[in-house]
């Protein structure tokens, strides 16, 4: 069965076609949800909600865009809606989605000595840092640098311009750099502290 056939059959209510589409796209959708919310329980809820919305609206799909783009758009909307409802004080969606010369996100401290990341970034600390990004930055970064979407696709998914997508991506990367540098400094502090502890002392 091809994807196009499965879509046609699903529009007619065929159970196997629904399952085929779920199996075809489910792993990427789940990975996206998991990275966006950081915990499996919420990711499962969001994934189910995204597919429910997809299957409820599948009769309206006309093929103007790629099916995966349409699905990921729904997924991102579902995730951002959930994050908006949670409305954490530190996460400002408006700040991250609208380019603003006054509040244009993280600024690089030009001229200051920087801690180099080469050789110090691993999967664990990168994932941890991604979780700390504001939702808008996180979405663009995950879609582009992790999932491999192009800016025009991200613009389509998120309903923004290509320029905005590029800007948000750059800010996301700059912010990640700050988070990773802080994490590496924190690790170095802990190692120095541990090294100073006399041998045999109880800590």
């Amino acid at each position: 069965m091809t994807e196009a056939e499965a879509i046609r059959l699903a529009q007619a209510g065929n159970a196997a076609a629904f399952e085929f589409l779920y199996q075809l796209h489910g792993r990427r959708v789940y990975a996206l949800c998991l990275r966006m919310v950081g915990n499996p329980a919420d990711a499962e809820d969001l994934m189910q909600e995204a597919f429910l919305q997809l299957f409820r609206k599948i009769a309206t799909f006309r093929g103007e865009s790629a099916f995966s783009t349409w699905l990921h758009r729904m997924t991102v909307n579902v995730v951002l809606m959930r994050l908006r409802k949670k409305s954490l004080p530190t996460d400002s969606l408006e700040e991250t989605m609208e380019p603003d010369a006054e509040n244009s996100g993280p600024k690089r401290d030009v001229g200051a000595p920087d801690l180099r990341l080469a050789g110090a970034v691993d999967r664990v600390n990168l994932e941890r840092s991604i979780e700390q990004l504001p939702p808008g930055y996180r979405t663009v970064f995950v879609l582009h640098d992790v999932q491999g979407y192009e800016h025009n696709e991200i613009a389509d998914i998120m309903g923004c311009s290509v320029g905005n997508s590029k800007s948000q991506l750059h800010k996301a990367r700059t912010r990640l750099r700050e988070l990773l540098q802080e994490e590496i400094r924190q690790q170095a502090r802990e190692e120095r502290k541990a090294a100073k502890t006399p041998t045999g002392s109880l800590e």
Binding site: G13, R28, A31, P40, H170
Partner: protein, 258 residues
């Protein structure tokens, strides 16, 4: 170009293709070199993150229940069952434990057939096949060449697998056809042997054999219509191996009760 200008360029255009001015600035500014290097480190690390993660099975189960409850699943599942039965059988055939057992069982089934053949009349087609006369040591030393003969030598060993073809001019059977014939012959012995009574194991084994035969028949029919379908061919070959395993298990149970 200054550092802030470089940052604006990076924000607008990314890291892929930098302008000449940007590259000139990078060549002379250590801080910006470090900055760009760090961004590249992050990009490289991000590419190593998995793009797919397996969701728990319960998500689909719950989702499907919701789709049925909302009436979004409308059609009966006949086509779906046929599709999923094929897929489900493929999953049944995959476990490594079964695969490990089938290799030995296939050898056993072939050995059973080979030792059984001299007790039965060879198939009609096999009589028409040319047989190679076995040379005695004396003939070998004398350099006597072997000629095809229609009369089988007295002390010939077990004959090769008989060819289930009606016409000598037809091509030799494919490995699949030979395997199918071998297994069908072995299966003839099963009803003649005293199996393990009417135990649940015995009933299950017979049921499995019926299911397997139906699947093999479907695969063979499908392959006749779609000879290029390699997946179906793989399933068929694996099904033959499973049948050999099953027949071996059934015969083992029968011999145990004799």
């Amino acid at each position: 170009m200054h550092c802030k200008e470089l940052e604006s360029v990076l924000e607008a255009e990314g890291l892929a293709q930098l302008s000449k001015d940007a590259r000139l600035h990078l060549a002379t500014c250590g801080a910006c070199q470090g900055y760009v290097a760090d961004l590249n480190t992050i990009i490289t690390a991000a590419k190593t993150l998995p793009t797919e993660v397996n969701p728990p099975d319960r998500i689909w189960i719950s989702l499907r229940a919701q789709l049925e409850a909302e009436g979004l699943i409308k059609e009966p599942v006949e086509v779906a069952e046929r599709f999923s039965w094929w897929e489900g059988f493929g999953a049944w055939l995959k476990p490594r434990t079964l695969a490990a057992a089938t290799v030995a069982a296939f050898v056993l089934a072939t050995a059973i057939y080979v030792t059984r053949v001299p007790r039965n009349n060879p198939p009609e087609a096999a009589k028409n096949q040319p047989r190679v006369e076995t040379l005695s040591p004396a003939q070998t030393q004398a350099g006597v060449s072997v000629q095809p003969s229609s009369v089988p030598p007295a002390n010939s060993g077990p004959s090769p697998a008989p060819v289930p073809s009606k016409n000598n001019k037809e091509l030799a059977p494919s490995p699949s056809e030979s395997a199918s014939f071998t297994l069908d012959q072995a299966e003839l012995d099963v009803p003649n042997m005293q199996l393990a009574g009417n135990s649940q194991v015995d009933i299950a084994l017979r049921q499995n054999l019926r299911t397997l035969n139906a699947f093999i028949a479907e695969c063979e029919l499908h392959l006749k219509q779609n000879p290029q379908d390699e997946l179906a061919r793989e399933y068929l070959n694996t099904a033959y191996q499973q049948k050999a395993d099953l027949l071996a298990a059934m015969m083992e149970g029968g011999r145990g009760d004799n």
